[in-house]
């Protein structure tokens, strides 16, 4: 049981919590947050695998991959948030329309 083991287990727990949220939460914002949590778990695992146990040299390839992954994660989050905003706009608009229709009746 080294420090690395602890890091990997907590990273996987983070991934699991995110996946659970993605499947059980119905709100879009929560789903987006859950996906981000999953991504953070994966990044942590990658960083730990590059860490190098027992004083061996640091492997830079996973670190570079994490840097790439963060940018991808930001892009997808931004796109998902805009989509969620649009969906909410549409829902609000249709709700307003039905409310107006009910007022006419």
């Amino acid at each position: 049981m080294t420090i690395t083991t602890g890091y990997i287990i907590s990273a996987l727990l983070l991934f699991g919590i995110g996946m659970n949220g993605l499947m059980t939460c119905s709100h879009q914002l929560r789903k987006i947050l859950a996906v981000n949590l999953m991504a953070s778990g994966v990044f942590l695992i990658l960083i730990v695998t590059g860490f190098g146990t027992d004083g061996s040299a640091i492997d830079h390839v996973p670190h570079a991959m994490v840097l790439t992954g963060i940018v991808i994660s930001v892009s997808t989050t931004a796109l998902a948030l805009t989509l969620a905003c649009r969906i909410q706009q549409r829902l609000n608009r249709s709700a307003d329309e039905t409310a107006e229709g009910n007022d006419d009746d």
Binding site: V61, V74, Q88
Partner: protein, 264 residues
């Protein structure tokens, strides 16, 4: 027909009562399955012995050839340049996706232009930013741009690089939008588009021009690879900064409203 409809309605209502229990069952089932998956993944990762990877000693002669001394930058832009090109493209595509979805009022960039959903618009128009905020922004923005340039350049020999510099530029852009939205609206949209395309275009052009030096795509000519990498990094940093700012705004500036604001 009518009877069938009411029957369906009744069934739906009775289903609604059951949904509570089904939700609970579903949540338990998913959390159990995910717990199993996490345990399995734990076992799979921890079982894997620390492999005989390409260590830093084996890679050291390659790093000398790469043109930069920072290992992460060498991997990102030289050894795995293809990945980074695709990454820049993904960011570009996300920006494109957001621009194609919504328009925003350029004088008020934080509000979607559809008035129906925002009956009470937050008023950013006021008499201009307050004195402290304006002074802070005036001092901070040039400093942030300077540090972003340094970070991008420093990527060649230490921690830093295009993404760190670009993130800082994006932060400066977001600060500027929050503090002085009207100033942002004076930037011509063509310039923003040019800035967004600049990084991916330079990356692609450098990659293709490597053919002219007898290499493959993104196989930089050996002496002076460092200057090619620096060129790519600065283009990418500018584009990343501008794209991140546009991602924050959440839509393209509405050209109709822009014309309207130009007239007075």
């Amino acid at each position: 027909m009518n009877g069938g409809l009411t029957g369906m309605k009744k069934r739906k209502q009775s289903m609604k009562g059951k949904f509570k229990r089904k939700d609970w069952q579903f949540a338990t089932l998913t959390s159990l399955l995910i717990a199993t998956l996490v345990t399995f993944l734990c076992w799979a990762i921890l079982k894997e012995p620390p492999g005989e990877d390409l260590t830093a000693e084996a890679l050291a002669p390659l790093f000398v050839q790469s043109g930069v001394t920072s290992p992460v930058t060498a991997i990102l832009l030289n050894f795995r340049g293809y990945d980074t090109l695709l990454e820049v493209m993904v960011l570009f595509l996300a920006g494109l996706g957001i621009w194609s979805q919504a328009t925003v009022d350029p004088t008020n960039p934080l509000v979607f232009s559809s008035p129906a959903t925002h009956p009470t618009k937050p008023n950013f128009h006021g008499p201009g930013p307050e004195l402290i905020l304006a002074t802070l922004v005036r001092i901070l923005i040039p400093l942030m741009v300077l540090v972003a340039g340094y970070l991008t350049w420093a990527g060649g020999f230490q921690a830093g690089g295009a993404f760190q510099g670009g993130a800082l530029l994006g932060g400066a852009g977001i600060l500027l939008i929050l503090a002085e939205p009207q100033r942002i609206s004076t930037i011509p949209p063509a310039l923003i588009r040019f800035g967004i395309v600049l990084g991916p275009a330079i990356f692609l052009l450098v990659g293709v021009s490597c053919f002219g030096y007898g290499g493959n795509f993104l196989q930089y000519p050996q002496p002076g690879a460092g200057s090619w990498l620096l060129l790519i990094e600065f283009g990418a940093a500018i584009s990343i900064g501008i794209t991140l700012t546009t991602l924050f705004v959440g839509g393209r500036p509405d050209p109709k409203r822009l014309k309207g604001t130009d007239q007075p």
